[in-house]
């Protein structure tokens, strides 16, 4: 008699799944000054190609927006965000679960100009920070000038936040995306929760 086997559903847990409750508490504790939430499993593709070659134009057409060639710019095209990481390197961020399709589309569009499209979705997780004091919170651990005049919507930067390497992206309505490596995510979440204590209490 054949033994009965149970097929377990695929268990996928985001790097900050265990911190979700504590992150959600920050908004209440700070009276809405800062809200933090993980945006798990976003599709992330590392794109490397010659910015002056035909592949750059092809990538722009496929993504719906030209690859940003200026340093520190994140372009948007619908649900996609294309962040400048270096003179020949970009990070394409899309909706969760879309990495396979997006990678295939880019690969077929780019052809043979020695482009590299690598699925790095598992490399980093995304924290979304919003609220009126979010720039002050980030400034506790980041040396960049985060004032809206120098870091407004559409800006991105790779830098260090509390010594952890992150990609910062300024989003609409004063929100920020912080992309942090999965292995640093729980540390950074702890640090953010601790730093947000500054905005609790009557003076906040």
């Amino acid at each position: 008699m054949a033994e009965q086997t149970t097929v377990r559903p695929t268990v996928r847990r985001s790097p900050l799944a265990l911190a979700a409750d504590r992150l959600a508490d920050v908004a209440a504790a700070t009276g809405g000054a800062v809200s933090i939430a993980e945006v798990p499993f976003l599709a992330q593709l590392n794109l490397r190609l010659d910015p002056k070659g035909p592949a750059a134009d092809a990538a722009g057409k496929e993504l719906g927006v030209a690859l940003p060639t200026a340093a520190g710019v994140a372009a948007r095209a619908g649900e996609l965000t294309i962040a400048w990481l270096g003179p020949d390197e970009w990070l394409v961020i899309g909706p969760a679960g879309g990495e396979g399709d997006l990678e295939a589309r880019l690969r077929s569009a780019l052809g043979t100009g020695h482009p590299a499209v690598v699925d790095v979705s598992a490399q980093r997780t995304v924290l979304e920070l919003s609220g009126p004091r979010v720039r002050d919170l980030l400034a506790f651990g980041c040396a960049l000038d985060l004032h809206p005049r120098s870091f407004s919507e559409g800006a991105c930067a790779q830098t260090r936040l509390a010594q952890a390497q992150v990609v910062l992206i300024a989003r609409e309505s004063g929100a920020f995306w912080v992309l942090v490596r999965s292995s640093f995510a729980s540390y950074l979440a702890d640090w953010l929760i601790d730093a947000s204590v500054e905005f609790t209490g009557p003076q906040a």
Binding site: A71, G86, T159
Partner: protein, 92 residues
């Protein structure tokens, strides 16, 4: 803490960078023809000036690109930043 201007990312704090030693040390044309002493001189001997010094830096926490910097070793003032492969600018 030095403020170093990355040619791509702009001014960033020193902690984001990785030091790469003296710039413009070219690999020998024919390494096999070198004597042990000449090889050791290429590998280990570096200038140690008091004053402007051309050196390599890597923006390791951001764009991960190498570039050259002329830094005054006395004042730590950055006198020039220029891409790899370009000649050393003349510092008056």
């Amino acid at each position: 803490m030095m403020l170093i201007s990355c040619p791509w990312c702009g001014p960033r704090e020193e902690a984001e960078f990785h030091y790469g030693g003296q710039a413009h040390v070219s690999y020998p044309e024919d390494p096999s023809a070198l004597s042990d002493e000449e090889w050791a001189r290429f590998l280990f001997y570096r200038d140690n000036p008091k004053g402007p010094f051309a050196e390599r830096w890597n923006h390791s926490a951001s764009c991960r690109r190498w570039f050259n910097v002329i830094r005054d070793t006395v004042t730590y003032e950055i006198l020039a930043v220029y891409p790899v492969g370009t000649p050393k600018p003349v510092i008056a």
